[in-house]
Symmetry: C2
Subunit: 462 residues, 2 copies
């Protein structure tokens, strides 16, 4: 039976007969024998294979082996004299499945820029860094599921296709089955959607929150975890047109409960990944960003500070810092303000609550002062805003007033209002951009390098 | 602390002081006391609450309680004299969060048709049947993750937005940021995609397989689990425009390994759900389809039969059955043929392999006879086809030939071909339509009732 290399590196014992399958990372030829390092993607480290010259077909096999070639190796585990490795395989047989011509294979041993690697998105996961990223991404995904499932949350699959363009969370992509070359128009020159697949304008969702609220009024505690979209023409290291979001929603929950859950959630995720992917995380700390581990520890070990927006503004004004953007009650906090609070003032994660009504969404619960809403943002050192959430407005009359105040139509929210009409409950939730979490966790500078196939303006390859 | 009702029903002991929060399912008033059944979505069964007339504000509280109202109940657990329940709560306090006017609340105690419930998709999860469906859907999702993760598979998030329209798996939705009212055209009257977000025609994916193959050549074993799309105008009980798919892909794996994995996978999923959701599964068997449990047992307990397509055609011809559709080597098997094989001939799941080349996709591995490919479909009693998979063509020259034979352009597959050019490996995988699995597992007749917010022609509400 084929053994996984990660498992052999941990538990393999000398004299075991093993078979491994993977891809050659490096080859070194010496007089009378050769070494190859074989990687199967199960761990950053590969397993060293020693081939003696008396191996059948030694010459022709070694000739066919080069970085990227695929092999099956059977042999016996032996203690390794090489540094950095406990065991290696002495090969009894080597089968080469596929060669990788060194003249043309783009992934030679030398370092490549992440920009270049994006152009070969079909091969880049074979590199140390991207391999580590996607193992961490997987562990992080499982941490999310495990955290919520352990507490009885139901994973709900909210729709990607939606007819509501009205939440205002961002620009949306249109989805259509009409022939774009000749879109049918009505008499007054608007699109004749009666001929389209859904009979009305349809978009890619920007958030599953409103549907998650539906499900929370049936199952109490639910979460979404799936792709969301923004048609924003942002070419930055932090924006994707397609990205994954996590959005828990809890019935019978207020902002305090929401904050408690979010704090426990982040601590859990970071602890889980440190435990499951220690080598990969060490690699990021050594090679990508040497604050990765201290940032993780900071999140895990500190009780998060909680301050109101009003208090945060006071503290910023008192700081006498020459901020680039103005600090004034009613204006949104900028990244520089958020980082000052988390990194310099409190030196740990900070939850800012109760933001001004006018800078937050209509569905956030209005405080008695009517000037602020029960919103919360979590700011972390080195990271900035990582989670945004709120208690939702559960009072029918207040919600109707807020919708109308934004110039929106009540009828577009008939079902959302029904949730307040029938058995309404205090409820709350938050949203976390999954790629940003992975980016922060790994220290990767560009968000395009933490998702397998990034979609950004003009980029939809693979 | 609030307790979950599922947990109390299992472990609650008389004399415990408890608080529960949920929605009223039924109310019965008697002289001097009233009963309500409270459900919080954690289980099919609710918890019975007894309110004595000496409860503070008894009269006004009882008046506000009706089906759908949301409540918080604190009290003491007592043994129940009612049939079908071990314990109940004697209320010390009842808080009504939200009423549900019996005059207008659509979910009264009487039975509703599933068609009607789809019109109130924001409320239907509060019913017994839909509640059970989405708990089973959640358990099924977790079974999928757990099965693959235990074996070291990496969950990969393949893209939703894609520029390849060429796999031919089905009609695709177009995605655009162009203004549909005035789509810009080039001089020769084709769409000027240079002005669109991605600079080229972009679609919603019909399958993550090709990208999963990329990831399998880095991590050996991977799986996708996410939404996919079809713009087919099919108004049937088995078609959705948006549905979730599971697609594992294994490097160093042939069709035998693929079948072994698929069989183990199905057995695992069904066992897991039976274990995690026994009450819900019993409910489906009692109320929806009385073959649900025997179908599950059939899958779990039988070794799947494996026959070639050629053999299957022989068996069908020999059967002397008056099938509606012709049976002839080279034609695809129809549902009636598949059900005959699984239900009548073998009376257990059957894997049919090695289909004619011309009825299967270009990427399936060509057999030496050149007439058949290493494809496999799993057919289950009462269910029909539930899984389709194949060993993939890993030989560069053969794959190029197959692509060209289909009239496709090699350059559109440059990266897919590169996987065969550099370290190619035998590999295989399969696809499972997640909603069909849930449909079969629960016996639900219409696929629109196993996804929270179904998208079908002209339906994109909620």
């Amino acid at each position: 039976m084929t053994r996984r290399i990660s498992e052999l590196l941990r538990h393999g014992q000398p004299n075991e007969l093993v078979t491994i399958k993977g891809w050659v990372r490096t080859k070194r030829e010496q007089k009378g024998f050769s070494f190859i390092e074989v990687n199967d993607g199960s761990s950053m480290a590969g397993l060293q294979v020693v081939m003696n010259a008396d191996l059948p077909d030694y010459e022709s096999i070694v000739k066919r082996l080069s970085t990227g070639a695929s092999v099956e190796v059977s042999g016996v585990l032996v203690s390794s004299l090489g540094k950095g490795q406990r065991i290696e395989v002495k090969a009894n047989s080597v089968i080469v499945y596929g060669e990788a011509d060194p003249e043309t294979y783009p992934l030679q041993k030398k370092r490549h820029s992440f920009e270049f690697l994006r152009e070969i998105g079909h091969l880049r996961s074979r590199t140390n860094t991207l391999g580590a990223v996607f193992r961490v991404r997987n562990a992080c995904s499982m941490a999310i599921h495990q955290f919520f499932q352990e507490q009885g949350f139901i994973w709900v699959h909210t729709p990607i296709l939606t007819a509501s363009d009205c939440e205002g969370a961002g620009e949306m992509f249109a989805v259509t089955s009409l022939d774009l070359k000749k879109v049918p128009l009505t008499e007054n020159q608007s699109v004749d959607y009666t001929q389209d697949f859904f009979g009305k304008p349809t978009y890619l969702t920007v958030s599953g929150q409103l549907e998650a609220e539906i499900m929370a009024t049936a199952f109490s505690n639910v979460y979404t975890f799936g792709p969301t979209f923004r048609a924003e023409n942002s070419n930055t290291s932090r924006h994707l047109a397609e990205f994954w979001m996590v959005e828990p929603e809890m019935a019978f929950c207020d902002l305090e409960g929401d904050m408690d859950l979010a704090e426990a959630f982040l601590k859990y995720i970071f602890s889980y990944v440190l435990e499951k992917c220690p080598e990969d995380m060490q690699f990021f700390n050594d090679r990508i960003d040497n604050s990765v581990l201290t940032t993780a520890e900071n999140i895990i070990q500190n009780e998060f500070e909680r301050v109101t927006y009003t208090k945060a503004v006071e503290l910023l004004l008192k700081s006498d810092r020459p901020f680039e953007y103005p600090v004034e009650w009613g204006l949104d906090l900028q990244s520089e303000h958020e980082r000052f609070l988390a990194e310099e003032l409190f030196k740990k994660p900070v939850i800012v609550t109760d933001y001004p009504t006018q800078i937050k969404a209509f569905y956030m619960r209005l405080n008695e002062d009517e000037k602020t809403v029960r919103a919360m943002d979590i700011l972390a050192p080195k990271i900035g805003e990582i989670i945004g959430g709120s208690q939702r407005e559960e009072r029918l009359d207040v919600l109707e007033r807020r919708i109308q105040a934004q110039g929106l139509e009540l009828k577009d929210y008939w079902w959302y209002l029904d949730l307040r009409r029938y058995g309404t409950v205090p409820h709350a939730g938050f949203g976390l951009g999954f790629e940003r979490l992975v980016q922060f966790m790994t220290g990767m500078g560009n968000i395009r390098d933490v998702i397998p196939f990034p979609r950004t303006p003009l980029n939809v390859e693979f």
